[in-house]
């Protein structure tokens, strides 16, 4: 897989800590919802750092979008979130991944479980589902610490206006006054309320920090969902 150069077309803050980077990638052959790219940065003295980022745009969208969360004391994310500007070049390779992928032909019903920045690849799946205007029902369960850390909030609200698309948020640290939604970390009961019963055989995609993914996947299995229909992708620090 070759490294290639993308040009930054736009940099757009999503929340206080996350930014979406729109890229033009000459010769890009398309991708599947859920795939990621590897990004490589090189300093003047030759020092290199490499990270993986999920593609947050759907295959049906124009151009590629990466949504990056700024990690405190991070080495790469502060650069991408604060320094990168339209016109800059970014070295990347991809698309990468065959397991954590959803396309219309896989059917559903589709259960998407996101923790924090794990929403990015699942948003690509949701956008793909909407773009294709198919009839696979989707339920998105998205855990964030507070409302202003919910990425793509307006887009998800609009998506939920579609028949067959449900979005449930759970805010684990802070809630606005009058909040009617879930207010705790994902657990077995919460998933049981939101997800289809195992008899419906949903296809589940779980993405977020490792402890989140393990808790959610364990909960799904303990409720009787087929482990073979649960796909997981764990996010976390990769720099050394």
């Amino acid at each position: 897989m070759k490294w290639r150069f993308a040009t930054v077309a736009d940099v757009h803050p999503e929340t206080g800590r996350t930014t979406s980077i729109a890229l033009r990638v000459p010769g890009w052959g398309g991708h599947l919802a859920g795939q990621h790219v590897d990004v490589r940065l090189t300093a003047e003295d030759g020092y290199q750092a490499q990270r993986s980022y999920s593609i947050a745009s759907a295959p049906d969208d124009d151009g590629l979008v990466l949504t990056v969360e700024e990690i405190d004391d991070g080495e790469v994310s502060p650069y991408l979130v604060e320094e990168l500007q339209p016109g800059d070049e970014l070295e990347l390779r991809g698309p990468i991944g065959g397991y954590f992928v959803w396309e219309e032909s896989k059917g559903g019903p589709l259960l998407l479980v996101a923790g924090g920045s794990g929403i990015a690849p699942l948003r690509a799946m949701l956008r793909h589902r909407l773009a294709r205007n198919g009839d696979v029902p989707v339920r998105l369960l998205y855990s964030a610490r507070k409302l202003d850390e919910v990425i793509y909030r307006d887009e998800l609200t609009r998506a939920a206006e579609n028949d067959g698309i449900d979005v449930h948020l759970t805010l684990t640290r802070e809630r606005p006054d009058g909040w009617q939604g879930y207010a705790r970390r994902i657990d077995r009961d919460l998933i049981a309320e939101v997800a289809w019963p195992p008899a419906e055989r949903p296809l589940a995609y779980v993405c977020g920090p490792t402890p989140f993914v393990e808790a959610a996947a364990d909960a799904l299995v303990s409720l009787g969902h087929d482990p073979g229909r649960i796909r997981t992708e764990r996010f976390g620090p990769t720099g050394s």
Partner: protein, 81 residues
Amino acid sequence: MLDGNAIAGTLDDIFGREMTLTMSTCGHCASRGPLAETVVYLRAPGVVVRCRMCQAVLMVVVDRRGTYCVDLRGISALALG
């Protein structure tokens, strides 16, 4: 501690193809699953891939100045279609 998705690009470099769906059998406990579901330790002198069930080392990848040294002794079977 991540999973096999985190080394999808590295595995593609090594095997020349997408590998996250590839089924591997643990040489220690015989459990079988896709490479995407292995436990991956990235922050080390090399990549260490462990069996999710028993934690035995399945694979170690050391990037030796641009050449990958790959040890697969912990895997008893890899289903390459």
